[in-house]
Subunit: 419 residues, 2 copies
Amino acid sequence: MFAELAEKGIKARLAARRLGALDTATKNHTLKCMADTLMQREPEILSANDHDIDAGQEAGLSEALLDRLLLTIHRLESIANDVLAVASLPDPVGETFDARTLPNGLRIGKRRVPVGVIGVIYESRPNVTVDISALCLKSGNAAILRGGKEAVHTNRALAAAIAEACERSGAPQDAIQLIQSQDRALVKEMLTANRYIDMIIPRGGASLHRFALQNASIPVITGGIGICHAYVDESADPAKVIPIVHNAKVQRPTVCNALDTLLIHHRVAADLLPRIADDLARAGVELRCEPRSLEILMGHPAARSAGPADFDTEFLSLVLAVKVVDSLDEALDHIYQHSTQHSDVILTENYSHAMRFVNEVDSAVVYVNASTRFTDGGQFGLGAEVAVSTQRLHARGPMGLKELTTYKWVIFGEGQVRE
Amino acid sequence: MFAELAEKGIKARLAARRLGALDTATKNHTLKCMADTLMQREPEILSANDHDIDAGQEAGLSEALLDRLLLTIHRLESIANDVLAVASLPDPVGETFDARTLPNGLRIGKRRVPVGVIGVIYESRPNVTVDISALCLKSGNAAILRGGKEAVHTNRALAAAIAEACERSGAPQDAIQLIQSQDRALVKEMLTANRYIDMIIPRGGASLHRFALQNASIPVITGGIGICHAYVDESADPAKVIPIVHNAKVQRPTVCNALDTLLIHHRVAADLLPRIADDLARAGVELRCEPRSLEILMGHPAARSAGPADFDTEFLSLVLAVKVVDSLDEALDHIYQHSTQHSDVILTENYSHAMRFVNEVDSAVVYVNASTRFTDGGQFGLGAEVAVSTQRLHARGPMGLKELTTYKWVIFGEGQVRE
């Protein structure tokens, strides 16, 4: 094992033991110190970021990537404010639930405790460094962070500020540790370092998630990849359909909860599909149509013929795959076969169809008559979002602070023994 | 991939889709059919078992192993009754929780759904075949079972009875499938068959759990391995200490929640340790003592010197490691270093020490003044026990039917879009 990983793993375990016992006031104080320190160290953080941006330009990074990498005074302020927002959230740790007294008098209950050590593997966005550190601290977890090589100087400057804040405020200095090595082999080792890490959160694109899932023996929170479907039922209310499809596709097309596939019942397709297409075309959306929908949209400037991969693609752009179906059953089968189990919606006024859709579509979030864009920790009222899980265990959909915890059973007795 | 695994994986996915939609009455009817079919097929099940027992005797299996393998009319009846008991438990699937209405009018909640496909890898006990099948069916999960080669004929006969019961009662015939191949390489493939299996439950000894954990990319419910500690505090009530230590060590020493290590405060050791030793010696317990406790028990017939591995051993027999400590802190440190995070208990009348112990010991179950033997799904009122988890995510401690489920978010809207 890489010496750096083993060393930081041991320190993280010790830090986690102390973090689990910190009270909420101390943790909030640390978060406030963190926000302060980030602003105090602004000159050195921005200069480290300049360094990364220069290197990125030399390496020929795209404008989009450089923009993700860029910190400004304004962006740093906004990152520091996000830390303060985490401080103001309720602390999930310590909550007792499922408590009861057994017939033999044992008082039994579950108590919420931190997961332990969280391993975070991410790409070039430096805000993740601070964001995930604040969430881990608030939930009493230690973290081992491995950021992308493009942001290496920025991440080091941010991690130094975080460590200083921890040290100054009574939190363990090793609560949040940044892996310095940029060796890809270390990432692979992180994924099987079960002794040191309890949960892996990959933050990035589909290939990072796949890599983590395939190589990890530690539980991985896979997610963030959404091929989202809207099914427009025969009975759908056109007054709802057009705004919802528009919002789900256009409002922010680059994110995982944006719409990718439109399924539409054949009885309403001839009327509705051209109206949907007109609306989307005005927003610059390109429609990738299978033959029946292409026939209806024949000659429409936004319509193209769908390729074989279009119903299995998360577009992350102004592209929508379109298909006419003969029934709710055909829509359910299509979703079953192509879903990434993220967010899917039925547009219908038919009660039984609405119920069948929410019963039978097995995605993290299933909607009736609402935009898939609501799949988000903030929108769901969780206060913060750690990730959107599309795996099945531990947590599904938007994950907040609570989803960075687990529980232990606490049992108070008076001498009870088992018969 | 082994053709058998891929084929059964595909069938399991299809079965899981249907199982998730079955109502409770149908599932209970299937369980009743299962109990009936097991009794109707008794002659052929017992004759298959004879076959396994004969083969086991020829292969020189130990008496203990042969006894685990053996089915009798009485044991088969008891297995069938356990299936009926599962039918009588409440169905966890469909429960709505954390439901609320957001300010924008969206009605949002979590709905409990089956995990999907459970992979079970177990050793020679044929009762596991039926037991886990009943629990998976009741919770709406499909299962792929891989039993030990010693029980291969018995398991085939049991699986045939289960498949017949499913077919006759409206459940998918492929709900429960038994892997026929005895190739060890297939087990390794099962652990990474993420497309087909959502959760792996190993049922067996420590080496099976380690193998599963090291080789799986699917989430594994590790557990069942308990190095359980009792710490006798300075203020412990002797009237509680002796019965609890006795019960935890002696009542059923072969199971994971039995006591392995006794830590005792030096101020009470001279008085209490000989009394504990006398009591345990009468039950045939051997004490493995570090130097300070050996000094106190010098010449006691049950006392031996502890070897270097004795504080890291799950004895599963009438052996107890014993250590004198100077403080609660030393006890907490010892537990931190040697725990398998299963079940640990403090015996104390000191309020602050009790609170510190339950706060700081991070095990699945933490007790004050009660026997560790209570760590059990039945004892905790869960109705049935799938496993005792000592991993941290999804579920800790005794797992019942609810822990074989996950949730999805269900959202009812009236045309809401995101601003």
